[in-house]
């Protein structure tokens, strides 16, 4: 042990700072690097409209990804996030248009949003109870909820898409902040994404909740022996993720102005890729949440690039898988040198 410590101290301080920076902000570097390549190899990439599109697409995934990142911090994993988005957004659509049952009147959109946020949170509560208190492996519990959500989404919508929602909610996904001053260049959903991440980053670095979640992920046993309520924090992570998934569903609903049972499909995996690229470790207790946002943007950038380069759409799925494996390998290598 002491030899390793001595070695760490003898390292070149410049190299050490650079390595730390690159580990934390690998995603940012990746974005800059990839962006450079793309702008050189395509015509349309560097146009603001295109970049705005990337950010827009990132925002819904990123909000959901934050939830997954929090769960990853505790050393767990949630498979149900994508279908959570599907179910809650479908439910919201039906409520807003008064289509849930015969003779129903359209409900107040604000009320509907609150209801579906509660629904998503409830799904998170179920995941949390099963994993933290009943003791099921997170994989199994969330797999169960994943199927329940998807099934429910199909049941209530009869597997048909629903479109056109009240204009009152259009701002969430299609609106722009300060349209006169900024000339429609800053979409509200991007503002929401930034806001949520900055808030989360603050909570997780500065409050007891955040510190304890890191501790639970860092070493569950040690956290227990330090008097931290491991079950409670494991539970809360799932609850927060459920809420965030529903939130991203709301934004998605507004942006597309339609819902289908395919909403949010594979969000949970996109979230894992983004989180790992952004520096969150699969083993738990490590990584900055804000990195996840950059990780998602990086992935979206990559796929935008694929489209610009005219890569076949189906190939993109193959590439997604490859990116996931590379990202996890990097994570494993990153951790290996340490211990």
């Amino acid at each position: 042990m002491s030899q390793v410590g001595a070695r760490a101290a003898k390292e070149n301080p410049v190299l050490k700072a650079l390595s730390k920076f690159s580990k934390d902000f690998m995603s940012v570097l990746g974005i800059i690097f990839l962006g450079a390549i793309l702008s050189l190899t395509t015509e349309k990439f560097l146009q603001w409209d295109n970049l705005k599109l990337i950010l827009l697409q990132s925002s819904t995934v990123a909000i959901c990804a934050l939830g997954q990142a929090i769960i990853l911090l505790t050393g767990n994993f949630d498979l149900s996030l994508g279908r959570n988005v599907a179910f809650t957004s479908c439910l919201g659509a039906l409520l807003m248009k008064g289509m849930l049952y015969d003779g129903m009147a359209p409900m107040n959109p604000t009320l509907v949003i609150l209801i579906i946020l509660a629904a998503g949170t409830f799904i998170g509560v179920c995941n949390g109870l099963l994993t933290a208190y009943v003791g099921l492996p997170a994989f199994i519990a969330t797999l169960g909820l994943q199927n329940v959500c998807y099934g429910l989404a199909k049941v209530i919508t009869n597997a048909t898409p629903i479109a056109t929602f009240p204009n009152s909610i259009a701002w969430l996904g299609r609106g722009f902040a300060f349209p006169e001053i900024l000339k429609k260049n800053l979409p509200w959903c991007v503002v929401l994404m930034l806001g949520i991440y900055i808030f989360a980053q603050f909570i997780f670095t500065k409050t007891k909740l955040g510190r304890n979640i890191y501790a639970v992920g860092g070493n569950k046993e040690a956290a227990f022996f330090a008097g931290i309520n491991v079950k409670r924090y494991t539970f809360l992570a799932f609850v927060m993720a459920g809420f965030l998934a529903a939130f991203s569903g709301v934004v998605l609903m507004s942006r597309l102005n339609s819902v289908a049972i395919t909403n949010g499909q594979s969000y949970e995996f996109d979230a894992v890729i983004g989180s790992i690229i952004g520096g969150i470790s699969l083993t738990g207790g490590k990584g900055r949440l804000i990195g996840t946002m950059f990780g998602i943007i990086f992935v979206m950038l990559l796929f935008n690039g694929m489209t610009q380069w005219k890569v076949d759409a189906f190939m993109q799925d193959v590439l997604k898988g490859i990116v996931l494996v590379i990202a996890v390998t990097l994570d494993v290598l990153r951790n290996r040198k340490r211990v």
């Binding site: 042990m1 002491s2 030899q3 390793v4 410590g5 760490a8 101290a9 670095t205 500065k206 409050t207 007891k208 510190r211 304890n212 890191y214 501790a215 860092g218 070493n219 046993e221 040690a222 956290a223 227990f224 022996f225 330090a226 008097g227 931290i228 309520n229 207790g285 490590k286 340490r338 211990v339």
Partner: protein, 496 residues
């Protein structure tokens, strides 16, 4: 070289780990065809020696002569097997779902001329071996269905199948009943009569006297003596195991002992703890001694509400308590420094100051926010109190030496300022300097009116620091000694 008389000769075997010299110039001989016992306290070096013979560790210095071959070194367990050494470990190493026959031939399958696995021959041989030992076990039974005693016998059969010349048994009797023990003794004697040499490690001196021909005593990694069992008495053996000068300084000070602050009555946990009652007074340093599996840690966990009691009561400050989890105990002023500092005591990837502030987090929170300034302040204060040797507060604890890691764990609990602190093997495997710091701290704590309970296998430190020592054995309280009454022989006599 007397090839036939000695199967194993050790000369100057030395093995060190970072900060600890596990074996120091150990030399002795083992005669062929004898039951040779190996005894010593926890940490005396027995396990390390066995692991070197089993090919798990490699000696730093010294020579090993085995079965007529000079200067052998086993680089892998496989080489050790090939040479003819079989080991029955303390923990059963069988594959649960496989049958007895399958386990016996693991890694050693017999094939037919066509290249297929020859179960018929293997089962026949398995039955033969079992029968020769005078036992009755179905070779087709899955080992998971067997009792621990029978599993151990299967382990022995596995070794016999390897046609080993030397069988090492590490604490084989720890989990057996009287009757099973007799059967096992029978097997061991039979093997001996067939010319196989057995090295038998056990804490139970009665067994040594009943079974062994020769006995070797290790202490602090050194060889103390190898003598025929018939030539020693039990007392002499104990004296050889523990006899050492209390050369270390223990900063013990006389302070006023107060009222009873913790009392346990009739603590029972089925299969683990049997009717334990004791009490501790304010300002005392109360020691709990006993061998590794005597139930000391389990007792601490039971009192702290980590494990549930089947029956019994715990009183803290005179009031009955019913802790439904460790957190309840912490809020009530108790604390625990766990046995395994790496896995239970610290989050290895976090830095020193974060680990120190982990229990008493609220001390560094103002208005809901963790204040960096306070974390730095308290981190520095408590790291200094313990004299932690570290590059900086921001160093991850995984880079610290074992002793310093333990200091961080202690610092963490010092910051929590528990009234009653239980320390489970606090100085295990750490250097002399760090040990001294921890002793100093124990004294300071009781001077401030706190109470300290120390679970330890190191008798000198118990004798040096404690006001009273309770000895446990197999889940029961065997006895209690005051500081005046206690000496190493008396404690060891109760331990075994």
């Amino acid at each position: 070289m007397m090839e036939n008389e000695y199967i194993l000769r050790l000369q100057g075997i030395t093995k060190s780990f970072p900060g600890v010299k596990a074996l120091d110039g150990v030399s002795f001989d083992v005669k062929r065809g004898t039951i040779h016992a190996l005894v010593g306290e926890n940490g005396a070096g027995k396990s390390t020696l066995i692991k070197i013979l089993a090919g798990i560790y490699h000696a730093d210095e010294g020579a090993l002569h085995f079965n007529g071959r000079d200067n052998v070194a086993f680089r892998t367990p496989h080489e050790s097997h090939q040479a003819g050494i079989g080991v029955v470990h303390q923990e059963i190493k069988l594959a649960d779902p496989l049958t007895v026959a399958e386990n016996m031939f693991v890694g050693n399958l017999v094939y037919t001329k066509l290249g297929l696995i020859d179960w018929k021959t293997m089962k026949k041989r398995a039955r033969q071996i079992i029968r020769d030992l005078g036992i009755d076990i179905d070779v087709n039974a899955p080992v998971s269905a067997l009792s621990v005693a029978k599993q151990q016998i299967v382990e022995i059969c596995k070794a016999v199948n390897l046609e080993m010349k030397l069988l090492i048994m590490d604490e084989p009797s720890a989990t057996l009943t009287e009757r099973e023990l007799e059967i096992m003794f029978g097997i061991v004697r039979k093997l001996r009569d067939e010319g196989i040499t057995i090295i038998y490690i056990s804490h139970r001196l009665d067994e040594i006297f009943e079974l062994a021909d020769m006995v070797t005593v290790l202490r602090d990694g050194k060889h103390i003596g190898t003598v025929p069992v018939s030539s020693v008495t039990r007392d002499r053996l104990i004296a050889m195991m523990v006899g050492r000068e209390l050369g270390q300084q223990y900063p013990k000070e006389e302070i006023a002992i107060g009222e009873t602050v913790l009392e346990a009555k009739g603590i029972v946990r089925r299969g683990v703890l049997k009717d334990i009652s004791f009490s501790v007074k304010k300002g005392e340093i109360f020691g709990i001694s006993g061998l590794v599996d005597s139930g000391r840690t389990e007792l601490a966990r039971a009192i702290l509400g980590i494990d549930r009691l089947d029956s019994g009561e715990v009183f803290v400050r005179g009031k009955k308590v019913n802790y439904r989890g460790f957190r309840d105990a912490i809020h009530d002023g108790l604390g625990l420094i766990p046995e395994d500092r790496k896995k239970q005591g610290l989050v290895q990837i976090f830095d020193i100051k974060t680990n120190i502030c982990m229990v008493n987090l609220k001390k560094v929170i103002r208005a809901g926010i963790v204040r960096k300034r306070l974390v730095n302040r308290y981190g520095t204060e408590y790291a200094k109190k313990l004299r932690v040797v570290m590059p900086s507060l921001e160093t991850q604890v995984q880079f610290l030496s074992g002793g310093n890691q333990q200091k961080v764990v202690v610092a963490k609990w010092l910051m929590q300022d528990s009234e009653i602190l239980i320390l489970d093997e606090p100085t295990r495997g750490i250097d002399v300097g760090a040990k001294a710091e921890i002793y100093r701290l124990m004294t300071e704590m009781v001077k401030e009116g706190k109470t300290v309970i120390v679970i330890s296998s190191e008798m000198p430190e118990l004798l040096g620091m404690c006001d009273r020592i309770m000895v446990m054995h197999e889940g029961q309280k065997k006895g209690e000694l005051t500081r005046e009454e206690a000496n190493q022989e008396r404690i060891m006599a109760l331990c075994v």
